[in-house]
Amino acid sequence: MATDLKFEYLREKALSREIPDDAPAPTLELDSLDTLWLQVTGTLCNLACLHCFISCGPKNDSHDMMELSTVDDALEWARDYGVKEYYFTGGEPFMHPEIKTMIRRTLDQGPLSILTNGLLIDDEMAGWLADTFESSRYSLDLRVSLDGTTPEENDALRGRGTFEKIITSIERLWDHGINPVVTVTTQHAGAGGEAKRREFFEFVRSRGIDKPRLKFLSPFKIGREERRDRGYEDHERLVEGDLGDTGGEHLQCSSCRMVTSEGVFPCPILIEEEDARMGDTLEDGMESIDLDHPACYTCHVDGVTCTT
């Protein structure tokens, strides 16, 4: 596909260039706030995956759960502005005691995707989600993370016994009438390639989900993933001029912002980075940003977007 070719080209170009130590990072305007991320459970998670790029886990409280009123404020601002789509993330969103209320209120004003590890979706919740999906005007997507087509592959990253639990949740959602998007970080050798992708489609199909929906994500070398694999090299950062003619329109931060209990951030990736915080309210988030973080390099050369 042409888009793959383009990113191959960007990667080569980024590797072959020479950058002076003091070269400034590019600045990016917010074109249009289309996508609003809400980190509803903060960094609190019932798993502690080795590759988690924000080091979420049962003990990480760097970002608290969001209060319902904080979510309401963000929603009100977003409605006045005209946001196109909403995403819930964490941590694990289904750990929030008021998750149902937040889902209902968000769906009242736009389409919602929830990023989850699936573990807390029991029969009652799956049924409720299916009813909500059925009756709402706007679309609801569940994005369930899975990191392998075998327990060995997946459990090495997500923890022992998680493979079966994740598959069970995916099947449960499907049985209730929700077709989840299975999200795969392209961690393993070849997982970014066509053959491995096809294997994932076939695997999901083989579990009775005959319309598989998948999303493949590049890993970010920050958070726990930085310690698992390796951090970024010196040349792996963006400098002025790297974005080329098209500017930054392929970067999700030209059209998204992230709200957490701690305030507003440019994107879901940088919430634990010093200096990334833009202010308290979404209004503060309308400013332009400096793409001065190495993760911005991954976004640029791999064409990463977290949206479905």
Binding site: A78, G82, K211
Partner: protein, 264 residues
């Protein structure tokens, strides 16, 4: 009804379906349409791409806009740029693109490359905007379940329109916003809207003191077209969609809500 009433027709997504195109134009002219707007995407799943052009070119009452497919074919690009994630979708999209590319003559490609990207009109004092995907992006999908009211209001504010017509998704819908303005996705005439019928959709606008929007469902000889899809060696899946009214391919870009309406 006063004598000043006029009727115009708006459709999109021809997808090489010259038979439904002929039927749509006939229906629109019979209904009294004095202007007919095509919002783009001439190529796609059907046979004999060159057959649609005589209906669209040098016809005084037909106004044609460029879709993403036309932009790709016209500029001799490698694919339709649909960006599917399912390898199966990609596979079928590439087959129809390669076939369409190979069988579209050079003069028609040149014509596609030169088409305008928008139309702006004034009807009954309303600012009317027509675009392929959205007013801001040629390949933005405006599906019913993923286009919230406040977002559409902002989009209308940005382009100064009271009434917006788009296509690109292939499934029609229309909505009056709380602000009183309208957005209409005219769907596609090239394949049925994934509802188990074989009819295709377009819209009429009746212009008087106000503008009244009417959805039209058109019958055409879908069996003949399905036969020709097979005759030229295009995938059986494309023929099946025409015969059953259910989308069999390229369903990956649909939102969960729209996709849940069909079996694939």
């Amino acid at each position: 009804m006063t004598t000043s009433t006029r009727t115009v027709a708006i459709f999109g997504g021809v997808y090489n379906n010259y038979l439904s195109l002929e039927a749509t134009l006939e229906d629109a002219r019979d209904a009294g349409a004095d202007a007919i707007y095509c919002l783009g995407d001439m190529g796609g799943f059907g046979p004999y791409p060159d057959r649609v052009f005589p209906y669209l070119r040098d016809t005084s009452d037909v106004f044609v806009m460029q879709g993403n497919y036309d932009q790709s074919i016209g500029n001799r690009l490698e694919d339709c740029g649909c960006g599917y994630t399912d390898p199966r979708d990609n596979h079928f999209a590439q087959i129809s693109y390669d076939y369409t590319f190979e069988h579209t003559s050079e003069t028609h490609k040149d014509w596609l490359a030169e088409l305008p990207e928008k139309f702006e009109r004034q009807w009954a004092g309303l600012n009317v905007r027509m675009a392929h995907g959205s007013p801001r992006t040629i390949n933005e999908f405006l599906w019913e379940s993923t286009s919230p009211d406040p977002f559409l209001d902002r989009m209308l504010d940005e382009c100064g329109a009271d009434l917006l017509f788009v296509t690109h998704t292939g499934i029609p819908w229309r909505r009056e916003l709380p602000s009183g303005r309208w957005v209409v996705n005219v769907g596609a005439i090239g394949r049925p809207p994934n509802d188990g019928t074989t009819k295709v959709d377009y819209f009429l606008a009746h212009i008087d003191d106000d503008v009244e929007i009417e959805r039209r469902r058109v019958d055409y000889d879908h069996e003949r077209l399905a036969g020709e899809v097979r005759e030229v060696g295009l995938p059986e899946e494309f023929a099946e969609t025409l015969e059953t009214g259910w989308w069999t391919t390229c369903t990956g870009s649909m939102p969960a809500k729209e996709r849940a309406q069909g079996p694939y």
